[in-house]
């Protein structure tokens, strides 16, 4: 394994993400919204990639970190006067009512919240063996959902938090995303990242080499929790609202599908998967809404989109369990993606 920084593996995906953002984002207001929400989902996919891709252990629990990130960032950026007057926020802790931060400090808070929750829960979860850990992460998601859904001291409960400041410019989510991509890449080539991938290849050899699987998994889990916290908060600031249901199973399924369809093991896979699923989803959405695509109107029944995305995940895994990119990193001159 080489530690050499291969710039094209990093710059390739970054340039493609930037190109996508500007080409689609400058088209229309709707295009801008699509780009912003795609980037917010992409950051979540990157979070999953850091842990799932490097360790080979599944996580269904990252929605919990995204929830913490979204609510942490959301509650401190909602203006105090709105918090005082909203019906669903009447029971909020007083210090939360009075706490007001700008968008960027609130994103740092979201990162900290995600890292904290992941770090603490990881102390237990990472002690379990791989498969049991994967299942136990369902429990994590369930608990987070349960708490946010019913607790109106820390948030709006099952209601929505409504008046979040949205991103002002396209550049904001783009820059955040690029920073996360850089972090993800650096972790991948770091000692901990390489060690973790070695444990994925051969879990039994790791203890023999004196590697503590628990420890390296925990490091990756905490880092990916931090990124998921940011991803959740970004998603909130794109929509301008936070509601606990938005981060539950459909969100988990969507981001996991993106990662796995692209190929969980590489940064390139996470990128391709996110863009591919977004693209397919948009086309199908236009069909459901009977909008013309290249001048042709194709009508499909409502709900087909969700079926197609679920079906493509299953078919992809049956056909190529390594995803479209087969876990490879971006390389100039790589063979064209087979459709």
């Amino acid at each position: 394994m080489t530690t050499r920084l291969r710039l094209q593996e990093l710059l390739g995906p970054i340039l493609i993400v930037i190109a996508f953002s500007y080409v689609v984002g400058l088209q229309s207001a709707q295009g801008l919204l699509i780009v912003q929400s795609t980037l917010a989902l992409f950051v979540m996919v990157l979070a999953l990639h850091v842990f799932v891709g490097n360790s080979g252990v599944l996580s269904f629990g990252h929605g919990a970190f995204a929830m913490f990130g979204a609510f942490a960032s959301g509650i401190v950026t909602t203006p105090s006067n709105i918090k005082e007057n909203s019906l669903q926020l009447q029971n909020l802790y007083p210090f939360l009512v009075n706490l007001n931060l700008g968008m960027y400090p609130s994103l740092l808070l979201a990162i900290a919240a995600g890292a904290l929750v992941a770090g603490l829960s990881g102390l237990l979860l990472m002690r379990l063996n791989g498969l049991a850990a994967g299942i136990a992460t369902f429990a994590l998601l369930g608990v987070a959902y349960n708490i946010f859904f019913y607790n109106n001291r820390i948030g709006p409960g099952s209601q929505a938090l409504l008046a979040l400041p949205p991103f002002q410019f396209l550049e904001e989510p783009v820059v955040l995303t690029v920073i996360v991509m850089l972090a993800v890449y650096l972790f991948g080539i770091s000692r901990a990242g390489r060690t973790l991938r070695a444990t994925r290849e051969d879990p039994l050899a790791a203890p023999a080499l004196g590697i503590s699987i628990t420890r390296v998994r925990w490091i990756a889990f905490t880092l990916s929790g931090a990124i998921a916290g940011l991803g959740g908060a970004m998603f909130a600031h794109v929509a301008g609202t936070v509601q606990v249901q938005d981060y539950y199973l459909p969100y988990t399924f969507m981001t996991l599908s993106m990662l796995i369809i692209g190929g969980s093991a590489s940064l390139w896979g996470a990128t391709v998967g996110t863009l591919l699923v977004t693209g397919i989803g948009q086309i199908l959405l236009m069909m459901e809404q009977q909008k013309p695509i290249l001048g042709i109107v194709v009508h499909i029944p409502n709900g087909t989109r969700a079926i197609v995305i679920a079906l493509s995940l299953v078919v992809m895994l049956l056909w190529r369990s390594e995803g479209v990119t087969q876990g490879r990193e971006f390389k100039i001159g790589m063979p064209k993606l087979r459709k």
Binding site: I135, N146, P203, G303, V314
Partner: protein, 290 residues
């Protein structure tokens, strides 16, 4: 008080059945079948849609529907994944689960379908001044009978012997002549039938069937098999029972805080797993399967 205990035992029994269905399939192919939820859901829809038929017919149809669905899953999706990494299989089953939910949504609509099934079971009776719901007693009896029958099947029949052998070493079992396709198909059919039993009990208690009807119980049963120990059927059933019973008791103990029962249950689960990371019935703690 007595009613609370009966409720705990009956909910534990139901979760034990769900966990056992998951454990059977996990045993023969290392697949954690998340789409078990949709087996429960399809059986529930069948019960609701056929409520005008005699109850027995309705139940038989629901067992057939769930078993067929289980066979289809195996044939169309899981068969191609045999021997794959368990994480890959788990995520496929997650995909199958979501796919079927969406299909159910298209077929039955997103809103709950409801019909009163087995209305005779909804009442209560009084013993020595204590009121007891019929449903809890029937559920306990049903769970006990089926767990005993499963125990007999697994411990005393040729199929059970093959299932146990395959769970510990499938390759060697095949070398001795155990037919892999037939055995795996049997495991799926049985897990489908168990899902139908779970569906029956749930529909009687709450006849509002929507596309996600089986989801919560399956997630909890999954956690149950981790708690009990994934590598043994007894462990799976025991873990399921614990999760169900604890959840039911928490609902009583917590009073107004019962909305957080789910969270408290997971605290208990975490404590159990801290003590025994491989599950209650595991012999080798954390090292056996990384």
């Amino acid at each position: 008080m007595i009613q609370a205990i009966l409720d705990a035992v009956s909910l534990g029994g139901v979760y034990a059945l769900a966990a056992l269905g998951l454990g059977l399939v996990f045993g023969v192919m290392r697949l954690v079948n998340f789409a078990h939820a949709e087996l429960i859901t399809v059986a529930s829809y069948t019960l609701v849609m056929t409520h005008q038929f005699p109850l027995v017919v309705s139940i038989v149809l629901s067992v057939v529907a769930a078993s067929l669905m289980a066979l289809l899953m195996e044939l169309l999706a899981y068969r191609r994944l045999r021997g794959s990494n368990p994480a890959t299989m788990l995520i496929v089953s997650f995909g199958v689960s979501v796919l079927l939910q969406k299909v159910y949504e298209l077929v039955f609509g997103a809103l709950p379908r409801s019909a009163s099934v087995a209305t005779g079971l909804t009442g209560a009776f009084t013993v020595g001044g204590v009121s007891i719901t019929i449903a809890s007693v029937v559920t306990i009896v049903l769970a006990v009978v089926i767990l005993l029958a499963m125990g007999y099947l697994i411990e005393r029949t040729k199929l059970g012997l093959q299932l146990r052998a395959a769970a510990s070493d499938f390759q060697t079992a095949r070398l001795l002549g155990v037919r892999s396709n037939r055995l795996i198909a049997s495991a799926f059919v049985i897990s489908g039938a168990l899902a139908a039993v779970v569906a029956f009990v749930n529909v009687v208690g709450n006849p509002q069937v929507d596309p996600r009807f089986g989801l919560d119980i399956t997630i909890l049963a999954l956690v149950g098999i981790v708690v009990g120990g994934m590598n043994s059927l007894r462990g799976s059933a025991l873990g399921g029972f614990i999760v169900g019973a604890v959840l039911s008791l928490l609902n009583v103990i917590l009073g107004n805080g019962r909305v957080y029962a789910y969270s408290w249950m997971f605290v208990i689960v975490i404590v159990i797993l801290l003590v025994r990371p491989g599950g209650i019935l595991s012999k080798f703690a954390t090292k056996e399967r990384v």
